[in-house]
Subunit: 696 residues, 2 copies
């Protein structure tokens, strides 16, 4: 369906111009310079010839079919032009024109208007307020964009919400000679969306890796759905900008959106299997590596270096990028001991010495390709003036094509002096980096994607013991009254519907009801005021723990009633659970456009202060739930150190899955906190001791 956009046979440019330094001129010129294989039809009411091409006063007068147009006219003229496009049977319009959502409410209204008009006329809109697209396919050669970047055909496709960021990335990929397949920057994205483009590229065999820049996700759930599918097939490298509060303010003035720090996009990336970056350079380096080399099977890197110091740098960086340096197989070491100089180091990182000979590198790389302990190879080579570096490069290059493990080159040299050496590596498909740091990080990104591919595809967990009807009624009972916190008894009953364990609890309004409830539950009990009028009930003395008989309970009841008066209008009695196991917190909150997030952390004031909590997107599977739980820095606490009992993480994961179901099924829940939950070993299920559930 996006073929007319990326593979047009005929492009019209409405607003084409002979005036240099205008967008209408630049686009026609770019199409010509790139050697567009289709027809170019400039549209301009005044000129009959533009850039030596016949021009037409209206798109309706172009002879033959047109499948793609650029629209560069004044913003208020866009609706009319789109109607003409529809009449002409044009399927996609790139609206470069700005003055829409990004300029305020009036622009937003105009943007809704062009969407209406386009829908009515069967035209899809790319943009508005955007750059456009490019495709280096020799059959197409479309440069539908007004930018200055040069393109080398290749296997990286790039979609960027910001055209400026897209241009910077594109330009860097050009400098790296990394090779581009397709490019898209869709600005306000009122119709054709980034997920749609990702899905299109998933099916393009020449796209080996997708780069995706976003400032804010228009439809996070849709992005998640699509990106999760696509990232199974090929890597998506994601860059989210506007991460800081200050940056998000700048996003807001840039795009006209709300000011708020966006914490969910990186979570969506993680859940979708998108490899996330915080740096354009690192992103480009990784794209370059993915475009040229296979994905490694695992994280075990074999390093060969010819210089000690840079080899140490490579080692540090490989480890810090999340890889391992495995022990080499004994056969590998023996083979290298025989082949290399006596002083060479045959353990990992292998050091051939600066004087290492071309055939030494052949032996090393061959041995590493064959070594079952090694998943990828980092060649860390500084060009000594006394070695035939081109011969070294040729030996390594000969082994690269078709090799089942990625080979990443770091060639430290004066580039003018050693250009042929660099070319030999590059021509063999070995990506070449200037620094151990950059090479190692690119490899680290490949390893992160390898992990994503190993992640089993799991559906969200479901449970056949859930009482959805009862739950819906409980939630509706509060929703009808305009929202707010669920009464304690209702909240715990709701947990019960979803199989989330908690102590028995009952509501009570009088001393009599209170004592009767306690008799049913059994002592010891907890008495709590359960009033919306009393928010911090613990601080206000509205909670009495560990009441061991009716006398204690009655005294506590009278005390609260006396002290709190009208605010103590409703109570709950619950079974008292001695503080035990490990205290954890489970929670959920509604996230616009994404359903709900679930949250996990340890209980206790210190951990909360350190911000050691992790998130997942509901509903989630047990595997993902375990990842979320195991993601906390204080994981050792759950694993049972220093005399603390080990916690059954599987049981906690089930509880988190049930919680995810609960909020997904009941979307009016805004916030939910189970704090604390007592978590135990395999012999005892976790128990939610307190619960706050807010409906909105």
């Amino acid at each position: 369906v996006l073929d007319p956009l990326f593979r047009p046979k005929s492009v019209a440019v409405i607003g084409a111009s002979n005036r240099p330094l205008t967008i209408g001129n630049r686009i026609v010129q770019n199409l010509l310079d790139m050697g567009f294989t289709g027809t170019i039809s400039p549209i301009n009411p005044k000129d009959a010839v533009i850039c030596d091409l016949p021009a037409y006063p209206s798109v309706l007068e172009v002879p033959g079919e047109v499948d793609l147009v650029h629209v560069i006219v004044k913003n208020t003229q866009v609706p009319g032009v789109l109607a003409d496009c529809g009449a002409k049977g044009i399927r996609v319009a790139i609206v470069n024109t700005s003055g829409f959502k990004e300029v305020g409410p009036e622009g937003a209204e105009l943007e809704r208007e062009i969407v209406r008009v386009a829908r009515q006329h069967g035209v899809r809109i790319f943009g508005p307020n955007c750059q456009g697209v490019m495709n280096t396919d020799p059959e197409v050669r479309a440069y539908c964009n007004f930018t200055f970047t040069r393109l080398i055909p290749g296997h990286i496709s790039l979609v960027a919400q910001s055209g400026g960021v897209g241009e910077v990335i594109n330009n860097r990929l050009y400098e790296l000679q990394a090779g581009i397949r397709m490019y898209a920057s869709n600005g306000n994205a009122c119709d054709i969306s980034i997920p749609e483009i990702l899905a299109y590229w998933a099916d393009d065999p020449q796209t080996r890796v997708i780069v995706c820049h976003v400032e804010s996700l228009a439809d996070p759930a849709e992005f998640l759905r699509v990106a999760r599918e696509v990232s199974r097939v090929k890597p998506i490298l994601g860059l989210k900008t506007g991460r800081t509060l200050e940056g998000s303010k700048a996003v807001s003035s840039h795009t006209g959106g709300m000011i708020r720090q966006d914490t969910k996009t990186e979570l969506v990336f993680e859940e979708a299997g998108v490899v996330s970056f915080r740096d354009q350079l690192e992103l480009c380096d990784a794209a370059y590596a993915f475009a040229r080399q296979p994905v490694p099977a695992g994280n075990r890197v074999g390093i060969v270096t010819n210089a000690g110091g840079p080899g140490i740098v490579a080692t540090d960086e490989v480890i810090e990028a999340g890889c391992e340096l495995p022990e080499l197989a004994e056969t590998t070491q023996a083979r290298l001991r025989a082949a290399l100089f006596d002083e060479a180091i045959v353990s990992n990182p292998i050091d051939t010495l600066a004087t290492g000979r071309p055939e030494h590198y052949r032996e090393v790389v061959t041995a590493l390709l064959e070594d079952v302990n090694v998943d990828s190879i980092l060649v860390n080579f500084i060009t000594p003036f006394f070695v035939d570096c081109e011969a070294v490069a040729r030996e390594i290059a000969a082994l690269a094509p078709g090799a089942p493990k990625p080979i990443i080159g770091v060639v430290m040299t004066r580039k003018e002096g050693w250009a042929p050496t660099l070319a030999i590596f590059r021509d063999a498909g070995i990506p070449v980096f200037d620094f151990p740091e950059t090479g190692a990080r690119a490899l680290g990104a490949m390893v992160r994607y390898a992990e994503r591919r190993r992640r089993p595809d799991e559906s969200p967990a479901d449970f056949d013991d859930i009482d959805r009807e009862c739950a819906a009624e409980l939630v509706a009972s509060v929703g009808a009254s305009g929202g707010g916190y669920l009464p304690q008894a209702t909240a715990f009953a709701l947990l019960g519907c979803y199989g989330i364990g908690s102590p028995p609890i009952e509501q009570a309004r009088s001393l009599g009801e209170t004592l009767a409830a306690a008799d049913r539950i059994g002592y010891p009990v907890v008495l709590k005021v359960d009033s919306e009028l009393l928010v911090h009930k613990s601080d206000a003395g509205g909670v009495a723990l560990g009441l061991h008989g009716s006398d204690e309970l009655a005294a506590a009841f009278r005390d609260m009633s006396d002290r709190l008066g009208a605010r103590a209008d409703r109570f709950v009695v619950a079974g008292f659970v001695e503080r035990s196991g490990v205290e954890v917190i489970l929670g959920a909150k509604r996230e616009e456009g994404l359903g709900h997030l679930v949250m996990f952390g340890l209980g206790g004031v210190l951990v909360e202060l350190l911000g050691d909590v992790t998130f997942g997107i509901a509903p989630l599977g047990a595997g993902r739930a375990r990842e979320v739980i195991r993601g906390i820095r204080a994981l050792p606490v759950l694993e049972g150190v220093r005399g603390l009992p080990p916690v059954d993480i599987d049981r906690l994961a089930v509880m988190l899955c049930r919680l995810g179901r609960l909020v997904t099924d009941n979307p009016t829940i805004i916030e939910l906190d189970l704090n604390p939950v007592f978590a135990f070993g395999a012999d005892r299920p976790p128990l939610a001791v307190d619960a706050r559930i807010k409906i909105g």
Copy 2:
């Protein structure tokens, strides 16, 4: 004293050669290519002419004075050659020859031998197993090295423990056209040391910034002493490699040192005011910025951008680099509202829009230079094809020379197409980066140095109430018996000598002594077994807390004696302190070559698991002690959140200073732990409740 090394008037090359691709040939050639202003004397017993220069069979036969030699002969011949050098009156020898400490014990012995010979003959050694030095000073032009890097004269001086790393950095600085002043890579560094070189460059007015790479500090204390002085005068940018355990293993096989993860070097950097890096690229970018621009007064950055997306990237990166984006002065905003396009954004980050005109940039940069809220300026410029970019560059360039605030350029462009624009920025001394990320991080490094410069110079705290004599006796009493843990009573007495508060404590061997001690101390008391035979006394039931009278004490005494038998051969009785305040841990450990480190952290199992502890080097001043304490992530706990009482950090800092004095004065202490210490508000001094002190 290093003038003969860096500013030689006459260089001899012992082992010079006509054979291409040898070090002896390369060095002579490099000296010639660089246009060395002094005399070059190749030494070779066989050839009379080398590289068209008259050669001599021995350095003794060179006519006239020689102040520097390269030694490239076989390792075993080096001692003899050095003796000749001494006889000739040569003051420094660069020993390029390898085969010394780095190859094992025999080599190490040979290295000691050459040091002996050199000392005897008044020759200083640079190396061995090293590259050499370079100096771009037009009066010198010395390329005493066999590498391939090209040098552009400038203001960065670079010393690298690893020649390979030095070469990579140097080459990158060449690509950046950043400009080098002097270079040194001294390999095994058996004599002339990195600190000596730092001190030399501190006095070189043309060196504006020093780059320093280390794998392991030979003499950390000396490095600290010198670097602390030098970094007051000019920035030192430090890179420590071999950070990971794997990397440190590689350092070990590279240099022949011990395998152990080096955690102290970065601490030394921090205490010395060295700006620390983990990445060669980032280091080079920062050096480039320091070489060209003044140090900012503070961390408040004014950004001007002409593209929204890249402006957001710049904003994120500036914030993540530790800077702030201040609100601009009202006068600045008014001025810009009048000068820029209506749609331009006049708050920080300022957006001129892509169509922004040259005079707009002049207004913006002028306004930011004058704005008292702004310490530095980041110009984030993407080159639009429809703007006269050279004119923009000229407007900004005109304001840069002599400006009191640093101006950092980020120019995103196709370099071939916009080379003149780039040149205009560069020629005005504005460092130009390709990415907002790199520009922002370079600025972040300048801000880190600005903070170092604001740090007051403080001497280690001293106290006139310390009883050093008594303390020395207490420590010696155990030292004499071969080391081990101090008995509890001795440990606390030692704390007392240094004014570190603790509950009263007495030693006791019998029930009678125990009861008598408790009477003197006053109930409630603690009874502890104090035996070297019982390491985990708490786990073994060797501690009884909160004993409220003689009956309880006697019972506890009998119980321990019965259960522990011979292991309960010695007791202490101490005043019992109710658990109160905030529990913290203070500690110290001896660190080879550096004296002692002191340590600070919160008490409690979770924080310990999260590794949230900070270190300082003893002895330390109160300001530094406060920095160490305030460095923990869980700082809010000390500041009094969630109902916890706020802690008087000044009083804790004094305790840490006293502890630093204690271990510095008593260097036989290997380890010291005060765990827990109860810390309180201003009304009550912190109290060390338990202490373990190990002597070795």
